[in-house]
Amino acid sequence: MNRGGKAAAPVSPSATTVFPTSTKRPVIAMVGNPNCGKTTLFNALTGLRQKVGNYPGITVERKEGTVTSESGVVIGLIDLPGLYSLTPHSPDERIARDVLLGYRDDTARPDAIVNVVDASNLERNLYLTSQLLDLGIPVIVALTMGDTALQHGVRVDAAALEKALGVPVIPIIASKRQGLREITEAFTTLPDAPPPPPRRWELPPIVEDEVEEMATLLMQHHDLPPATAFTEATLLLGLPESRAFEDQVARWAPAVQEHLKQDLAGFAVEGIDISTSIAEARYGDVGRVVTQAMRRVEAPPVPISDKLDRVFLHRIWGYVIFLALMALVFQTMFTWAGIPQGWIEAGVDAVKNLAVTRLPAGDLRDLFVEGVLGGVGNSIVFLPQILLLFLFIATLEDTGYLARAAFLMDRLMSRVGLHGKSFIPLLSSYACAIPGIMATRTIDSPRARLLTILVAPLMSCSARLPVYALMIGAFIPPTLVLGFHLGRFEVGLDMRTLTLFSMYALGTTMAFLMAALFNRTILKGEPPTFLLEMPPYRLPSLRTVIYQMFERAWLFLKRAGTVILAISIVLWFLATYPKSQSANASEQVRGSYAGLIGRAIEPAIAPLGFDWKMGIGLVSSFAAREVFVTAMGTIYNVDAAASEDEEKLSIAIDERMKADVDPVTGKHTFTPLVAIALMVFYVLAMQCMSTIAVVKRETNGWKWPLFQIAYMTALAWIVTFIVYQGGKLLGYS
């Protein structure tokens, strides 16, 4: 994603950003490992009083909410992304570090931390805790997943943990709302509580000296409080080598950078590895805490999760179950979503008709009906698919199955640089790229996520189907290709099925080829990561699932909706102006700016076998691909009566297209070869403003959507050129 870029712009940590003013409402940051039950707890605590957005300049989700205690004290709660440590490996971790150390201008440093700790995975969770305790701000531990831990033969003694860590520990069962009151009450006094006791973990003396030295330097040059300086010193000295060094240290004074370089060089010579020293020191102390707090209890010899995995991750049954589940997702998105989509379309049409009858005729009414309502209709029609896909994904994620699916599919996807978790977004893109792209948030590797977003629109979505149907119906004969006649029935593949299948195959193949290409070229610098945690299976929380569904739907409407509305108004304008004298719709379109663009691009599309009329179709398809059918209807002047019914419209256009001849050569403009070329173009070209709007939102800028338009248009042009010219050379017409 946006690697550093704006986010890494030097934010000088000054005293004002480090210490929030005490008059403001206290803010507590929620921090925890991925899969620790943080989201469930956040939702349970804040209810609907939450705000979701992005951190400026970077695609990391920013979630905030408020909690009100029984005594009426209101506390702000900020949910930081799930993370394993504060070492900035990913954008998520960079944000977490910046917020917790008070480096961000847009987010005041939190007054306290609530650290969510998964009892069933105590050791690794406490590693992060060990880092949080060093920050010099009050910490409270919310201990979750006690029930899962019991199944694994572990009971965590909250009182003993509290004693070992030196900070309050509150056991929570968010789904049963146990411990919520206690934690809310604890929040009211937390911001004024003393910071955690001094650290107990110890570095080897030589490393310790360097860390102290670096911390002193940071305090001198940047006025950092001692605890912040110490944490920053450990992070700087333990910087992962694989990342661009300059990027990481840009914000610090030259003296600090220089000292750091010398230190790292010195350690390298002496063969001391700081990352190892720090990790071992912290895990050493974590070991002490675990021994004091963890009790072994009687448990089934094989935990239920392991039993389930014997089936779900089985070398044969695992894939069978996975494919069956995916078939269900596909069926839902492709077919069942069509039912509520029909209602939405009918509803939008009803509003349009109402507007037409009630409003005075004129440009303003046309703008409202065609531009505004048309635009709104074109975007909200995707809602059923978004809601259904996120119902699935949230459920699969909450149960823990999503990680298993990624485990099964990773081999296939990693060949081209994708991730096991890219599979579901790509599969749902067959129905619609919009929910598919929104679903890429589950992919933890930024590189694989961007790759998935870039190629998802190549998967042949359902909006292309009307175009295929029109072209195949008109120009591809139902000849039997492979198979036999059985009495009156044909058994096997006919030409039409084969053509349709080829379009899907073409899109899919290109998606994988382009992923492989981008993986080897523009995204080469980013290290690929997998590191997939297998959380224990859990019953999904209905609350979490429903929240996620509606959160996604709302984000789509809010962010994408506005862009879509703006573009549809522009497109309406292009098709409407300048007004022609003729009352004939066909004449009107030909004379409009859209018509002008169609003519203007004719030289560019002529080598593909397209004339300017098809050019208008291509331009108007930008609103949504299926608009092609109605646009062709208008251009070929199909009478209005036929356009009432989509099927009749298709047949009527079909006749017109077949009859259309070139005025100069006298040849038919539409031939089977042109039809195929047109379909190929539709498979590969980015003709969907809603997708562009979503990519802009998901990648936080115009860079990637513009790149996507450029590469997909170029790809579509080249492949269509090869198909059309190659076809002509082979003697097809």
Binding site: Y84, S85, R411, L531
Partner: protein, 86 residues
């Protein structure tokens, strides 16, 4: 690819159910792996290997983590000196 010397090898050489102790971690994700608990002497067990040469599932510090084969290859482990496998 697997060394003949049976006392030390990389993690991806181990078969299902085999246990070993971490001796060294390298590769681009070294720092991350250390933080995830692959410190010196930590016991690891191969819980499962995906079909077609896919990822490995590893048990470590009472949780389960999947790594790709090339990621697992950056982790060196020492095998317990026990009865020699036939």
């Amino acid at each position: 690819m697997c060394p003949v010397d049976k006392t030390e090898c990389s993690l991806d050489c181990l078969g299902r159910g085999q246990k070993a102790r971490v001796t060294a971690v390298g590769g681009p994700n070294r720092c991350r792996l250390l933080e995830l608990g692959f410190t010196n002497g930590t016991e690891v067990e191969i819980a499962r290997r995906a079909a077609f040469g896919g990822p490995l599932e590893i048990r470590i510090r009472s949780y389960r983590l999947s790594l790709r084969k090339d990621e697992a290859a950056t982790i060196l482990v020492s095998l317990p000196v026990v009865e020699s496998p036939s």
